[in-house]
Amino acid sequence: MLDTSEKTANPVPVAGKEAESTFSLDKKNKNKSRLGRGEKWYGYLFISPMVIGYLVFVLGPIVAAFGISFTNWSLYNEPALVGLSNYDKALNNDPVFWITVGNTLVFSLGLVPLNICLALALALLLKQKLPGIGFFHTIIFTPVVTSIVVWVIVWKYIFATDAGLINQFLKLFGIQGPAWLYSENWTMLVIIIVSVLKNVGLNMVIFLAALHDVPQLYYDAARVDGASPWRIFRSITLPLITPSIFLATTITVIGSLKIFGQIYVMTGGGPGTSTYVMVYYIYKQAFQFFDYGYASAIAFILFAIILGLTIFQWQMRKRWVHYEQ
């Protein structure tokens, strides 16, 4: 969908029907030339609040943060330029930094496929017109509207060693549950699961909407041809919803690289540094150690990673996202 919308915004003369409509638009424009020029000013006017907001609340701070990343500013002393030393420290002298990068990527790689596949599976199930289906739909969506603080606090309690719900449940079967939040192996997994459950409802809704849009006649035709359900899914459903999959994946990837709340509340980055993620590290450096220069440098490295990944995904989309003619 995104593709075709760009074409409409910038009409390019091509052969055939499109060319005709472009020419007629041009004629209309010539007649209303004064109004056309006025349109330009309206355009700028309408976007001005957003642009001003961007300059003041986004670009300004970003530039300032960029500047700060070249200083050694901390809350209690005056900033002094130190060139690239913050970046150097992060990339070469700080093993914790690379741990955070690794943890962030592990989290993302764990969360995104799980989230997308589960959301898709749920959407497929919920598409069916069975009694009571709306009930499940609502339930699975409710974590999305809950505050992350509330959600995570309850799960922290559920995963408590020994007296938590899960380990008490396992005790009934004679199994000694591990220290879920104090184990180098399990803690990240717990965070991933808790995060997936929180947001899967959102992607599920996006997929549901997309599934509804697949014309029924394709399915009917396929069934007449005797195609198996799996074949139908792979050859018809899947290709037609790839734009949604792309959108959901991009949003989920970006979000997963920026997680903070669940780490802050549930593990505080621990045990040790096993759940230190980049944004948590930035927070710690800035608001606990008051090392603004270093924190800003790390933040920019994170931004570069996100930007790179997003551009990469955007380029890849031409390969696998299917747009209807």
Partner: protein, 342 residues
């Protein structure tokens, strides 16, 4: 708040961050209180002021100096036919050995009962460790807090005891656990005296307080320290000082002494403090709190405390996940912390 200049005029400051705040010129000099006759500055126990002074200048007044003490569940001790910590203390026999034995005896996995828990929050390593460490003759830092001092044989013994309680004896809840004393599932619980506020609400079992056990180097406990200070930049310096005078004067401290252990001699020995509530008994308070305060020491502070805390916690976590031995953990701590103390 200080960064945004929206801090209140008078604030409750935690002792650990006071050196940092004094360095950064965030607190107002209130040394004038020393000469105020109605204030009775001398009534304040001198040792409690140490953290709030820089040289002869005073920057804050302590209002609560609760020691770490032991809360214990009388019912659980009785059930196992054990002598209570109070009884053992009166005999002169309240040692860490007895402590460990009692904890083990009380632990009952089938009922989810543990012998002892020494912390409230698994991110807090200093409160459970300091009393043990000191009573084994070791310390976390050297006297002027310029180097890490726990990596010694005594330090190792102390940390090993703590580690054994959790993993060898299994008489201490495992990391990640959230049990509290009020649930009646803990035989013993160490915390600051101020926790009585919570414990007084317990109706299901009998409890009492006792001093911390003694180790090879004697009995030791740590004193928490919270103080009032006037924040730099206040628009009402004179009024703030008056307010501070009031709440930290004899009457003010008496009023808060139900929960806060007052650093004023006169209030400490008064009925207002000792008879604040039916539990614990004045006798217990005398034993567990007043008698211990003389020899107690303060939690250390440092202007780089946040980073030191994080470095030590990382190694403690490795102990908690059993990925490293006590010896190696201490060696790592020394390596990581020393550069931060310069």
């Amino acid at each position: 708040m200080m960064a945004s200049k929206t801090a209140p005029d008078v604030a409750w400051v935690v002792e650990r961050s006071v050196p940092q705040l004094i360095e950064a010129n965030q607190l107002v000099d209130i040394s004038s209180l020393k000469n105020d006759s109605s204030y009775n500055f001398g009534d304040i126990i001198p040792a409690t002021l140490a953290m709030f002074k820089k040289g002869e200048q005073v920057y804050g007044i302590p209002f609560s100096t609760p020691p770490m003490i032991l809360f214990y569940n009388k019912n659980l001790f009785k059930e196992k036919g054990l002598k209570t910590p109070t009884e053992l203390y009166k005999e002169g026999n309240w040692t860490y050995d007895e402590f460990q034995k009692a904890a083990k005896a009380i632990t009952d996995p089938s009922k989810g009962v543990y012998g002892v828990k020494m912390l409230r929050d698994w991110k807090n390593w200093i409160d459970p460790l300091l009393p043990i460490v000191w009573s084994y003759g070791a310390d976390v830092f050297n006297t002027d807090t310029t180097s890490f001092a726990l990596n010694t044989p005594e330090g190792q013994k102390a940390l090993q005891l703590y580690n054994d309680l959790i993993f060898k004896d299994q008489s201490h809840p495992k990391p990640g656990d959230q049990l509290t004393f009020e649930t009646g599932k803990l035989g013993m619980y160490t915390d600051r005296y101020s926790n009585v506020a919570k414990t007084r609400a317990v109706k299901d079992f009998e409890w009492d307080i006792a001093p911390m056990p003694k180790g090879p180097a004697g009995a030791a406990t740590s004193l928490g320290l919270a103080g009032y200070a006037v924040i730099q930049g206040t628009k009402y310096p004179a009024e703030s000082l008056e307010w501070l005078k009031f709440i930290s004067g004899k009457d003010g401290m008496s009023a808060t002494s139900a929960y806060f252990v007052p650093p004023r001699e006169s209030v400490l020995r008064s009925d207002v403090f000792l008879k604040a509530a039916p539990q614990p008994s004045p006798e217990s308070i005398q034993m567990a709190v007043l008698d211990q305060m003389k020899g107690a020491r303060y939690n250390p502070g440092h202007k780089n405390w946040a980073k030191v805390d994080a470095a030590v916690l990382t190694q403690m976590d490795r102990l908690y996940t059993q990925s490293v031995s006590v010896k190696d953990a201490l060696a790592m701590m020394e390596k990581e912390v020393n550069p931060l103390l310069k």
